[in-house]
Protein backbone atom coordinates (compact mmCIF):
# COMPACT_ATOMS: atom_id res chain seq x y z
CA UNK A 1 0.00 0.00 0.00
CA UNK A 2 3.04 2.21 0.31
CA UNK A 3 3.15 2.71 -3.44
CA UNK A 4 -0.07 4.27 -4.61
CA UNK A 5 -1.18 2.69 -7.89
CA UNK A 6 -4.45 3.14 -9.67
CA UNK A 7 -5.66 -0.42 -10.21
CA UNK A 8 -9.00 0.59 -11.63
CA UNK A 9 -10.97 -1.76 -9.38
CA UNK A 10 -11.08 0.77 -6.56
CA UNK A 11 -12.91 4.03 -6.54
CA UNK A 12 -10.28 6.76 -6.47
CA UNK A 13 -10.17 8.75 -3.28
CA UNK A 14 -10.22 12.50 -3.29
CA UNK A 15 -7.17 14.72 -3.75
CA UNK A 16 -3.71 13.29 -3.64
CA UNK A 17 -4.61 10.44 -1.31
CA UNK A 18 -4.70 7.82 -4.02
CA UNK A 19 -6.72 4.62 -4.00
CA UNK A 20 -6.99 2.16 -1.16
CA UNK A 21 -8.73 1.95 2.16
CA UNK A 22 -7.80 5.26 3.83
CA UNK A 23 -7.41 4.01 7.44
CA UNK A 24 -4.90 1.37 6.27
CA UNK A 25 -2.66 3.74 4.32
CA UNK A 26 0.56 3.33 6.27
CA UNK A 27 2.19 6.43 4.81
CA UNK A 28 -0.25 8.58 6.80
CA UNK A 29 0.56 6.88 10.13
CA UNK A 30 3.63 8.89 11.08
CA UNK A 31 1.86 12.18 10.58
CA UNK A 32 -1.23 10.98 12.48
CA UNK A 33 0.86 9.74 15.40
CA UNK A 34 2.81 12.99 15.55
CA UNK A 35 -0.28 15.17 15.72
CA UNK A 36 -2.07 12.79 18.05
CA UNK A 37 0.92 12.90 20.41
CA UNK A 38 0.95 16.70 20.27
CA UNK A 39 -2.79 17.23 20.80
CA UNK A 40 -3.46 14.35 23.17
CA UNK A 41 -0.38 15.39 25.14
CA UNK A 42 -1.77 18.91 25.32
CA UNK A 43 -5.14 17.57 26.45
CA UNK A 44 -3.51 15.35 29.08
CA UNK A 45 -1.50 18.28 30.36
CA UNK A 46 -4.59 20.49 30.55
CA UNK A 47 -6.64 17.83 32.31
CA UNK A 48 -3.97 16.81 34.81
CA UNK A 49 -2.71 20.33 35.60
CA UNK A 50 -5.82 22.48 35.28
CA UNK A 51 -9.21 20.80 34.89
CA UNK A 52 -8.97 17.79 37.20
CA UNK A 53 -7.46 19.79 40.12
CA UNK A 54 -10.08 22.51 39.70
CA UNK A 55 -12.95 20.01 39.62
CA UNK A 56 -11.50 18.04 42.53
CA UNK A 57 -11.19 21.25 44.52
CA UNK A 58 -14.78 22.26 43.78
CA UNK A 59 -16.33 18.85 44.44
CA UNK A 60 -14.31 18.06 47.55
CA UNK A 61 -14.78 21.60 48.84
CA UNK A 62 -18.51 21.20 48.44
CA UNK A 63 -18.49 17.78 50.11
CA UNK A 64 -16.50 19.07 53.10
CA UNK A 65 -18.71 22.17 53.31
CA UNK A 66 -21.82 19.97 53.37
CA UNK A 67 -20.25 17.68 55.99
CA UNK A 68 -19.33 20.70 58.12
CA UNK A 69 -22.80 22.19 57.80
CA UNK A 70 -24.38 18.87 58.75
CA UNK A 71 -22.12 18.65 61.78
CA UNK A 72 -23.05 22.18 62.80
CA UNK A 73 -26.72 21.37 62.35
CA UNK A 74 -26.36 18.24 64.51
CA UNK A 75 -24.61 20.27 67.23
CA UNK A 76 -27.32 22.92 67.07
CA UNK A 77 -29.96 20.22 67.33
CA UNK A 78 -28.30 18.79 70.45
CA UNK A 79 -28.15 22.28 71.92
CA UNK A 80 -31.79 22.89 71.11
CA UNK A 81 -32.75 19.59 72.70
CA UNK A 82 -30.79 20.51 75.82
CA UNK A 83 -32.50 23.87 75.96
CA UNK A 84 -35.84 22.13 75.54
CA UNK A 85 -35.07 19.74 78.39
CA UNK A 86 -33.96 22.65 80.61
CA UNK A 87 -37.13 24.52 79.78
CA UNK A 88 -39.26 21.47 80.59
CA UNK A 89 -37.43 21.06 83.86
CA UNK A 90 -37.81 24.69 84.92
CA UNK A 91 -41.43 24.59 83.84
CA UNK A 92 -42.06 21.55 86.02
CA UNK A 93 -40.25 23.22 88.92
CA UNK A 94 -42.25 26.40 88.53
CA UNK A 95 -45.46 24.41 88.39
CA UNK A 96 -44.57 22.54 91.58
CA UNK A 97 -43.64 25.79 93.28
CA UNK A 98 -46.85 27.44 92.17
CA UNK A 99 -48.83 24.50 93.47
CA UNK A 100 -47.02 24.63 96.81
CA UNK A 101 -47.67 28.37 97.09
CA UNK A 102 -51.31 27.89 96.18
CA UNK A 103 -51.64 25.08 98.73
CA UNK A 104 -50.03 27.17 101.48
CA UNK A 105 -52.24 30.10 100.66
CA UNK A 106 -55.32 27.89 100.62
CA UNK A 107 -54.38 26.41 104.01
CA UNK A 108 -53.81 29.87 105.45
CA UNK A 109 -57.14 31.13 104.19
CA UNK A 110 -58.88 28.02 105.49
CA UNK A 111 -57.31 28.47 108.90
CA UNK A 112 -58.23 32.13 109.07
CA UNK A 113 -61.82 31.54 108.05
CA UNK A 114 -62.05 28.64 110.51
CA UNK A 115 -60.81 30.89 113.31
CA UNK A 116 -63.25 33.61 112.38
CA UNK A 117 -66.08 31.15 112.19
CA UNK A 118 -65.18 29.81 115.63
CA UNK A 119 -64.99 33.26 117.26
CA UNK A 120 -68.23 34.20 115.59
CA UNK A 121 -69.86 31.03 116.83
CA UNK A 122 -68.68 31.58 120.42
CA UNK A 123 -69.79 35.19 120.24
CA UNK A 124 -73.20 34.09 119.06
CA UNK A 125 -73.35 31.42 121.79
CA UNK A 126 -72.65 33.99 124.54
CA UNK A 127 -75.19 36.35 123.04
CA UNK A 128 -77.71 33.57 122.83
CA UNK A 129 -77.08 32.62 126.44
CA UNK A 130 -77.48 36.26 127.51
CA UNK A 131 -80.67 36.55 125.55
CA UNK A 132 -82.00 33.34 127.06
CA UNK A 133 -81.13 34.57 130.55
CA UNK A 134 -82.92 37.83 129.85
CA UNK A 135 -85.95 35.97 128.54
CA UNK A 136 -86.03 33.79 131.67
CA UNK A 137 -85.66 36.87 133.84
CA UNK A 138 -88.39 38.70 132.01
CA UNK A 139 -90.55 35.61 132.24
CA UNK A 140 -90.21 35.32 136.03
CA UNK A 141 -90.86 39.02 136.34
CA UNK A 142 -93.91 38.68 134.21
CA UNK A 143 -95.02 35.71 136.20
CA UNK A 144 -94.69 37.76 139.38
CA UNK A 145 -96.74 40.49 137.84
CA UNK A 146 -99.30 37.89 136.74
CA UNK A 147 -99.57 36.70 140.35
CA UNK A 148 -100.12 40.28 141.51
CA UNK A 149 -102.75 40.92 138.86
CA UNK A 150 -104.43 37.59 139.58
CA UNK A 151 -104.51 38.38 143.31
CA UNK A 152 -106.02 41.79 142.62
CA UNK A 153 -108.49 40.32 140.22
CA UNK A 154 -109.42 37.45 142.58
CA UNK A 155 -109.84 39.86 145.52
CA UNK A 156 -112.02 42.12 143.43
CA UNK A 157 -114.15 39.17 142.23
CA UNK A 158 -114.55 37.75 145.73
CA UNK A 159 -115.51 41.18 147.08
CA UNK A 160 -118.14 41.58 144.39
CA UNK A 161 -119.53 38.15 145.00
CA UNK A 162 -119.06 37.83 148.74
CA UNK A 163 -119.15 41.36 149.80
CA UNK A 164 -116.01 41.04 151.79
CA UNK A 165 -112.40 41.10 150.58
CA UNK A 166 -110.51 37.91 151.44
CA UNK A 167 -107.51 38.07 153.65
CA UNK A 168 -104.21 38.43 152.04
CA UNK A 169 -102.96 35.08 153.35
CA UNK A 170 -105.95 33.10 152.02
CA UNK A 171 -105.71 34.73 148.67
CA UNK A 172 -102.06 33.92 148.26
CA UNK A 173 -102.57 30.28 149.27
CA UNK A 174 -105.49 29.88 146.91
CA UNK A 175 -103.57 31.49 144.06
CA UNK A 176 -100.54 29.33 144.64
CA UNK A 177 -102.69 26.21 144.52
CA UNK A 178 -104.42 27.42 141.34
CA UNK A 179 -101.19 28.33 139.62
CA UNK A 180 -99.66 25.02 140.54
CA UNK A 181 -102.52 23.12 138.96
Amino acid sequence: MATPQKTGTEVPGGGNAGPGFPPFKTETFASQLLWLAIFFGLLYWLVSKVFAPRLTEVIEGRASRIARDLEEAAAAKVKAEEAGAAYEKSLAEAKAKAQAIAQARRDEVNKASEARRKSLESDLATRLAAAEAQIADTKTKAMANVEGIAADAASAIVQRLGGTAPSRGDLDAALKAALKA
Partner: protein
Protein backbone atom coordinates in the same frame (compact mmCIF):
# COMPACT_ATOMS: atom_id res chain seq x y z
CA UNK B 1 -20.61 10.13 -7.08
CA UNK B 2 -18.42 10.30 -4.00
CA UNK B 3 -17.37 7.00 -2.50
CA UNK B 4 -18.51 6.22 1.08
CA UNK B 5 -14.81 5.99 1.90
CA UNK B 6 -14.02 9.57 0.87
CA UNK B 7 -14.87 10.83 4.34
CA UNK B 8 -11.90 8.91 5.76
CA UNK B 9 -9.30 10.18 3.29
CA UNK B 10 -6.51 12.14 4.87
CA UNK B 11 -5.73 15.33 2.98
CA UNK B 12 -2.69 17.43 3.82
CA UNK B 13 -3.47 21.06 4.55
CA UNK B 14 0.04 22.28 5.36
CA UNK B 15 2.79 19.92 4.05
CA UNK B 16 5.75 19.86 6.39
CA UNK B 17 8.11 17.40 4.69
CA UNK B 18 8.78 13.71 4.43
CA UNK B 19 10.34 11.01 6.58
CA UNK B 20 11.05 8.15 4.20
CA UNK B 21 7.80 7.30 2.46
CA UNK B 22 5.73 8.96 5.17
CA UNK B 23 4.51 12.41 4.53
CA UNK B 24 4.45 14.68 7.55
CA UNK B 25 1.78 17.31 7.20
CA UNK B 26 -0.87 19.18 9.09
CA UNK B 27 -3.85 17.27 7.67
CA UNK B 28 -7.61 17.35 8.01
CA UNK B 29 -7.18 14.64 10.68
CA UNK B 30 -4.75 16.90 12.57
CA UNK B 31 -7.19 19.78 12.20
CA UNK B 32 -9.97 17.78 13.81
CA UNK B 33 -7.69 16.53 16.59
CA UNK B 34 -6.97 20.19 17.24
CA UNK B 35 -10.68 21.05 17.15
CA UNK B 36 -11.48 18.19 19.54
CA UNK B 37 -8.84 19.25 22.05
CA UNK B 38 -9.74 22.91 21.51
CA UNK B 39 -13.43 22.26 22.15
CA UNK B 40 -12.67 20.27 25.32
CA UNK B 41 -10.20 22.92 26.46
CA UNK B 42 -12.54 25.85 25.86
CA UNK B 43 -15.48 24.11 27.48
CA UNK B 44 -13.60 23.10 30.61
CA UNK B 45 -11.81 26.46 30.85
CA UNK B 46 -15.20 28.20 30.86
CA UNK B 47 -16.92 25.60 33.02
CA UNK B 48 -14.29 25.52 35.76
CA UNK B 49 -13.37 29.21 35.81
CA UNK B 50 -16.00 30.12 38.42
CA UNK B 51 -15.37 27.21 40.79
CA UNK B 52 -18.77 28.02 42.29
CA UNK B 53 -20.16 26.26 45.33
CA UNK B 54 -23.51 26.12 43.57
CA UNK B 55 -22.60 25.21 39.98
CA UNK B 56 -24.03 26.83 36.88
CA UNK B 57 -25.09 24.77 33.88
CA UNK B 58 -21.64 24.38 32.36
CA UNK B 59 -19.97 23.63 35.68
CA UNK B 60 -22.70 21.13 36.55
CA UNK B 61 -22.11 19.35 33.26
CA UNK B 62 -18.33 19.34 33.77
CA UNK B 63 -18.83 17.96 37.29
CA UNK B 64 -21.21 15.34 35.94
CA UNK B 65 -18.57 14.16 33.44
CA UNK B 66 -15.93 14.20 36.18
CA UNK B 67 -18.01 12.16 38.60
CA UNK B 68 -19.13 9.76 35.88
CA UNK B 69 -15.53 8.91 34.98
CA UNK B 70 -14.34 9.04 38.61
CA UNK B 71 -17.06 6.60 39.69
CA UNK B 72 -16.30 4.28 36.77
CA UNK B 73 -12.62 4.32 37.68
CA UNK B 74 -13.22 3.84 41.41
CA UNK B 75 -15.62 0.95 40.93
CA UNK B 76 -13.23 -0.83 38.53
CA UNK B 77 -9.82 -0.08 40.06
CA UNK B 78 -10.60 1.06 43.61
CA UNK B 79 -9.55 4.27 45.34
CA UNK B 80 -5.90 3.88 44.27
CA UNK B 81 -7.12 3.98 40.68
CA UNK B 82 -7.70 7.72 41.07
CA UNK B 83 -3.99 8.33 40.42
CA UNK B 84 -4.79 7.47 36.78
CA UNK B 85 -7.76 9.81 36.70
CA UNK B 86 -6.16 12.43 34.41
CA UNK B 87 -5.29 9.73 31.86
CA UNK B 88 -8.71 8.07 31.96
CA UNK B 89 -10.54 11.39 31.90
CA UNK B 90 -8.42 12.62 28.95
CA UNK B 91 -9.09 9.40 27.04
CA UNK B 92 -12.82 9.56 27.73
CA UNK B 93 -13.12 13.21 26.74
CA UNK B 94 -10.97 12.79 23.64
CA UNK B 95 -12.81 9.71 22.34
CA UNK B 96 -16.27 11.06 23.26
CA UNK B 97 -15.66 14.47 21.68
CA UNK B 98 -14.03 12.97 18.58
CA UNK B 99 -16.96 10.57 18.14
CA UNK B 100 -19.55 13.31 18.54
CA UNK B 101 -17.65 15.78 16.37
CA UNK B 102 -17.60 13.11 13.67
CA UNK B 103 -21.40 13.20 13.70
CA UNK B 104 -21.37 16.75 12.31
CA UNK B 105 -22.05 16.37 8.56
CA UNK B 106 -18.85 16.92 6.59
CA UNK B 107 -16.64 16.57 9.66
CA UNK B 108 -13.70 14.20 9.89
CA UNK B 109 -13.95 11.44 12.50
CA UNK B 110 -10.60 11.19 14.23
CA UNK B 111 -11.47 7.87 15.90
CA UNK B 112 -12.32 6.21 12.58
CA UNK B 113 -8.59 5.68 11.94
CA UNK B 114 -7.06 2.50 13.32
CA UNK B 115 -3.69 4.17 13.94
CA UNK B 116 -5.29 6.72 16.28
CA UNK B 117 -7.31 4.20 18.28
CA UNK B 118 -4.38 1.79 18.33
CA UNK B 119 -2.06 4.51 19.64
CA UNK B 120 -4.53 5.31 22.43
CA UNK B 121 -4.92 1.60 23.24
CA UNK B 122 -1.14 1.13 23.29
CA UNK B 123 -0.87 4.10 25.64
CA UNK B 124 -3.17 2.26 28.05
CA UNK B 125 -1.41 -1.07 27.49
CA UNK B 126 2.08 0.34 28.09
CA UNK B 127 0.85 2.27 31.12
CA UNK B 128 -0.52 -0.96 32.58
CA UNK B 129 2.77 -2.82 31.95
CA UNK B 130 4.92 0.05 33.17
CA UNK B 131 2.93 0.71 36.34
CA UNK B 132 2.47 -3.02 36.97
CA UNK B 133 6.19 -3.75 36.94
CA UNK B 134 7.09 -0.53 38.77
CA UNK B 135 4.63 -1.26 41.57
CA UNK B 136 4.86 -5.04 41.91
CA UNK B 137 8.08 -6.05 40.14
CA UNK B 138 7.98 -9.68 39.07
CA UNK B 139 4.81 -10.20 41.13
CA UNK B 140 3.06 -8.50 38.25
CA UNK B 141 3.59 -11.70 36.27
CA UNK B 142 1.24 -13.39 38.76
CA UNK B 143 -1.45 -11.82 36.61
CA UNK B 144 -0.90 -14.65 34.14
CA UNK B 145 -1.19 -17.46 36.70
CA UNK B 146 -4.79 -18.01 37.72
CA UNK B 147 -5.11 -19.17 41.31
CA UNK B 148 -6.88 -22.40 42.25
CA UNK B 149 -6.09 -24.28 39.00
CA UNK B 150 -4.66 -27.80 39.11
CA UNK B 151 -0.88 -27.87 38.52
CA UNK B 152 -0.85 -29.64 35.15
CA UNK B 153 -3.30 -27.06 33.77
CA UNK B 154 -1.21 -24.02 34.72
CA UNK B 155 1.06 -23.93 31.60
CA UNK B 156 -1.96 -23.93 29.28
CA UNK B 157 -3.70 -21.29 31.33
CA UNK B 158 -0.61 -19.10 31.34
CA UNK B 159 -0.42 -19.30 27.54
CA UNK B 160 -4.10 -18.38 27.26
CA UNK B 161 -3.74 -15.52 29.76
CA UNK B 162 -0.68 -14.14 27.94
CA UNK B 163 -2.45 -14.26 24.58
CA UNK B 164 -5.55 -12.58 25.99
CA UNK B 165 -3.37 -9.94 27.65
CA UNK B 166 -1.46 -9.21 24.45
CA UNK B 167 -4.64 -9.02 22.39
CA UNK B 168 -6.07 -6.34 24.66
CA UNK B 169 -4.71 -3.32 22.77
CA UNK B 170 -5.87 -4.86 19.50
CA UNK B 171 -9.41 -5.56 20.69
CA UNK B 172 -9.60 -2.21 22.46
CA UNK B 173 -8.55 -0.26 19.37
CA UNK B 174 -10.40 -2.41 16.81
CA UNK B 175 -13.71 -2.10 18.69
CA UNK B 176 -13.69 1.69 18.62
CA UNK B 177 -12.24 1.98 15.12
CA UNK B 178 -14.63 -0.55 13.55
CA UNK B 179 -17.70 0.88 15.23
CA UNK B 180 -16.99 4.41 14.08
CA UNK B 181 -15.92 3.35 10.61
CA UNK B 182 -18.87 1.02 9.99
CA UNK B 183 -21.42 3.49 11.29
CA UNK B 184 -20.18 6.30 9.09
CA UNK B 185 -19.93 4.05 6.02
CA UNK B 186 -23.49 2.81 6.58
CA UNK B 187 -24.76 6.38 6.82
CA UNK B 188 -23.01 7.38 3.58
CA UNK B 189 -24.19 4.25 1.74
CA UNK B 190 -27.82 4.95 2.62
CA UNK B 191 -27.33 8.62 1.77
CA UNK B 192 -26.01 7.47 -1.63
CA UNK B 193 -29.18 5.42 -2.14
CA UNK B 194 -31.30 8.49 -1.48
CA UNK B 195 -29.43 10.50 -4.09
CA UNK B 196 -29.45 7.78 -6.79
CA UNK B 197 -33.12 6.89 -6.21
CA UNK B 198 -34.09 10.57 -6.14
CA UNK B 199 -32.60 11.00 -9.61
CA UNK B 200 -35.06 8.44 -11.06
CA UNK B 201 -38.14 10.68 -10.97
CA UNK B 202 -41.34 10.68 -8.91
CA UNK B 203 -41.31 6.94 -8.12
CA UNK B 204 -37.67 7.16 -7.20
CA UNK B 205 -38.30 10.08 -4.86
CA UNK B 206 -41.04 8.08 -3.14
CA UNK B 207 -38.72 5.07 -2.93
CA UNK B 208 -35.94 7.27 -1.56
CA UNK B 209 -37.97 7.93 1.60
CA UNK B 210 -37.11 4.39 2.73
CA UNK B 211 -33.32 4.86 2.91
CA UNK B 212 -33.91 8.39 4.19
CA UNK B 213 -35.83 6.92 7.12
CA UNK B 214 -32.97 4.48 7.63
CA UNK B 215 -30.53 7.39 7.79
CA UNK B 216 -32.60 9.06 10.49
CA UNK B 217 -32.70 5.86 12.52
CA UNK B 218 -29.01 5.16 11.92
CA UNK B 219 -28.07 8.70 12.94
CA UNK B 220 -29.84 8.20 16.27
CA UNK B 221 -28.09 4.85 16.65
CA UNK B 222 -24.73 6.44 15.79
CA UNK B 223 -25.16 9.03 18.54
CA UNK B 224 -25.75 6.16 20.96
CA UNK B 225 -22.73 4.29 19.59
CA UNK B 226 -20.59 7.43 19.80
CA UNK B 227 -21.26 7.66 23.54
CA UNK B 228 -21.27 3.93 24.17
CA UNK B 229 -17.90 3.31 22.50
CA UNK B 230 -16.30 6.15 24.44
CA UNK B 231 -17.72 4.61 27.62
CA UNK B 232 -16.62 1.08 26.69
CA UNK B 233 -13.12 2.34 25.90
CA UNK B 234 -13.03 4.10 29.26
CA UNK B 235 -14.36 1.24 31.36
CA UNK B 236 -11.99 -1.28 29.73
CA UNK B 237 -9.13 1.12 30.38
CA UNK B 238 -10.19 1.16 34.05
CA UNK B 239 -10.38 -2.64 34.16
CA UNK B 240 -6.90 -2.96 32.62
CA UNK B 241 -5.48 -0.37 35.01
CA UNK B 242 -6.93 -2.42 37.86
CA UNK B 243 -4.64 -5.28 36.73
CA UNK B 244 -1.65 -2.98 37.07
CA UNK B 245 -2.68 -2.07 40.64
CA UNK B 246 -3.95 -5.47 41.81
CA UNK B 247 -2.31 -8.16 39.66
CA UNK B 248 -3.32 -11.03 41.95
CA UNK B 249 -6.37 -12.91 40.76
Amino acid sequence: MASPLDQFVIKPIIPLGKIGASEIAFTNASLFMMLVVGAIGLFFMAATSQRALVPGRMQAFAEMLYEFVANTLKSAAGKEGMQFFPLVFSLFLFVLTANFMGMIPGAFTVTSHIIVTFALAMLVFLTVIGVGFAKHGTHFLGLFVPGGAPGWLVPFLVVIEVISFLSRPISLSMRLFANMLAGHIALKVFAGFVVSLGALGVGGILGATLPLGMIVALTALEFLVAFLQAYVFTILTCVYLNDALHPGH
